[in-house]
């Protein structure tokens, strides 16, 4: 049994991998502000923020097979809470982020509890309607910008004011670093869950719900756990977005933005956190690139459309999946070459 025990020992996550990730993040945090112009630093900042939302979409779809088209509404709700509390209280910014995450967590679970009984197309439609409803509310009330009352929009003689960024991230470069650190924490939380018992439950549910139940998994609870986790991180992304410019525009939280978010996740890769980073870049940095090149902004939709067809037909694991396959192939070949 002792020999077998050694062979069967669970593969522990290599600490080396974590060291590499921290190292790469440190380089990005230092290099991006040093190398790029303010225009690009801002673009990368929103890319990283959206990457957090993409990771949530990817977890729900890639791990549980749940199509949620309502995630952008949760980003909006998180942003709303941060703006509201930021203008109305003197709580430190990290507390605002946590409060936003908890608020969206509650809303996500409340909507999700009945919606989880649905699957496939029905769930997609219900969550899209959820996004539509919130979009209407955002449009009607506006986001808090220093006005009075519960909703807090500036009206009449009150001048709108922007929320201040946290003191650690006042400059664009500083805020970029701040966002990278918060995103790293969110990704670490997702990775930690994916590697543990929750991740195993999601994997078996994805394969077969009956198989999961037969193994004793409380599937409803496990899905709710995913929803709560994803709603939290998505709300934090909203909080980061709110403090980026200090104001939010209802036009950024429409159902079509929600669909676009889902599309870039499919293109970038729904099965890995790296895919979420690619998706964030596709959704935010890519339009910047096109506008730098002087291409019409709507051309991005054509690019996404074509990439989506490519992803759905030949690369179900997205660009991240293709890169991963390339790297494994290269690795195998170097090993064989020895």
């Amino acid at each position: 049994m002792s020999v077998a025990s050694v062979a069967l020992a669970p593969r522990v996550p290599r600490p080396a991998a974590a060291v590499v990730v921290v190292f790469v993040l440190a380089i990005i945090a230092v290099a991006v502000p040093a190398v790029f112009s303010v225009f690009w630093i801002r673009s990368f900042t929103t890319s990283v923020i959206y990457a957090i939302a993409c990771a949530g979409v990817g977890l729900l779809y890639g791990r549980l097979g749940l199509v949620s088209l309502g995630q952008i509404a949760l980003v909006g709700v998180g942003g709303w809470i941060t703006l509201r509390l930021g203008h109305g209280t003197s709580l430190p910014y990290p507390v605002l982020l946590v409060a936003s995450g908890l608020g969206t967590c509650v809303i996500g679970v409340m909507v999700g509890l009945p919606a989880l009984r649905l699957s496939g197309l029905n769930l997609a439609i219900v969550t899209l309607m959820f996004a539509g409803a919130f979009s209407i509310v955002f449009n009607a009330t506006g986001f808090p910008n220093g006005g009075g009352g519960f909703l807090g929009p500036a009206t009449g003689s009150v001048q709108p004011i922007a929320l201040e960024r946290p003191s650690l991230g006042h400059s664009d470069a500083g805020y970029f670093r701040y966002v990278v650190i918060v995103a790293a924490l969110m990704f670490a939380a997702l990775a930690w869950q994916l590697r543990g018992r929750a991740g195993r439950q999601w994997a078996v549910i994805r394969q077969s719900e009956a198989g999961a139940l037969a193994a004793g998994v409380d599937t409803t609870r496990s899905k709710l756990r995913a929803l709560a986790l994803v709603s939290f991180t998505t709300g934090v992304a909203g909080g980061l977005l709110a403090a980026n410019a200090g104001v939010l525009d209802p036009g950024n939280f429409t159902p079509s933005e929600s669909i676009l978010l889902f599309a870039v996740v499919l293109i970038g890769g729904a099965f890995s956190l790296f895919g979420a980073v690619l998706a964030g870049l596709l959704g935010q940095a890519m339009p910047s690139l096109l506008s730098e090149l002087g291409v019409n902004g709507n051309a991005i939709l054509v690019v996404f459309g074509l990439s989506l067809i490519h992803a759905v037909s030949t690369a179900p694991a997205g660009i991240a999946g293709q890169l991963h396959a390339l790297v494994s192939k290269a690795r195998r070949e170097t090993v064989d070459g020895r």
Binding site: A7, R200, A203, G216
Partner: protein
């Protein structure tokens, strides 16, 4: 000991189980019958995936039907499926751990279950396992922790003859090693005769024979209803 009383299931007009009553003693028991006889439906009733229109099931003195499906598994009801259900993206080890997590079994129990089925290199992912290794992984998942009633739905399907022999040796050992009752569904009569002390025969929702396996399989009714069609198939 498994007690089934007046159990009926209807899917629209079809009655895959029609007022079925029988008892199965501890040890390994066989459940046989032609295709569509209601064997898998019976397992699905025990698992809680199919709600019977009438009847009761008592295992080890516990009424199963009032428990939620995942609670039955935690109580000790385990099963495999006709279609293998190994998770492709997880290692064999983690596949067994899925059940171990839920029933509160520790790492050494996972290793014990894997050692029991003789699966070496449990770090390979589900998608890289052979059919035999997948069946073995599923059996390990069904016995990890404290199983009380293990349902095996055609575990020998898709296996070569010498692989089936390995399965026979394994299934036989489950009651003694883990203290669980086993119910085996299979079309391979050699497999059933080799491991099952008692066997119940279903035919279109009704029990047509029940008793020691050798007696049941030589019964004229059974031969006509089941073995006859088997030869034709």
């Amino acid at each position: 000991m498994l007690r089934v009383r007046d159990l009926s299931v209807s899917f629209g007009g079809v009655m895959p189980l029609d007022d079925v009553t029988f008892e199965l003693p501890d040890g390994v028991c066989g459940l046989v019958g032609p295709n569509g006889a209601g064997k898998t439906t019976f397992f699905n009733v025990l698992s809680g995936f199919v709600r019977p229109s009438a009847g009761a099931v008592e295992a080890d003195g516990t009424s199963l039907l009032s428990m939620a499906p995942h609670r039955r598994a935690r109580w000790g009801l385990r099963r495999t499926f006709q279609q293998e259900q190994v998770v492709h993206s997880l290692s064999a080890y983690d596949n067994v751990r899925i059940a171990a997590d839920e029933v509160g079994a520790a790492g050494d129990q996972v290793r014990e279950a894997l050692a029991f089925v003789g699966l070496d290199d449990a770090q390979r992912r589900g998608r890289h396992l052979t059919m035999l290794e997948r069946r073995l992984t599923e059996i390990a998942r069904s016995v990890v922790g404290r199983p009380r009633l293990v349902l095996l739905d055609e575990p020998g399907a898709g296996l070569a003859e010498e692989e089936t022999e390995r399965l026979v040796a394994l299934i036989r050992k489950i009651p003694e090693r883990f203290g669980a009752q086993v119910i085996l569904v299979d079309h391979d009569m050699e497999l059933v005769s080799a491991v099952c002390g008692n066997t119940v025969v279903l035919d279109f929702g009704r029990v047509i024979a029940l008793g020691p396996t050798a007696d049941v399989l030589s019964d004229e009714h059974v031969k006509r209803a089941y073995l006859g069609t088997e030869e034709v198939v």
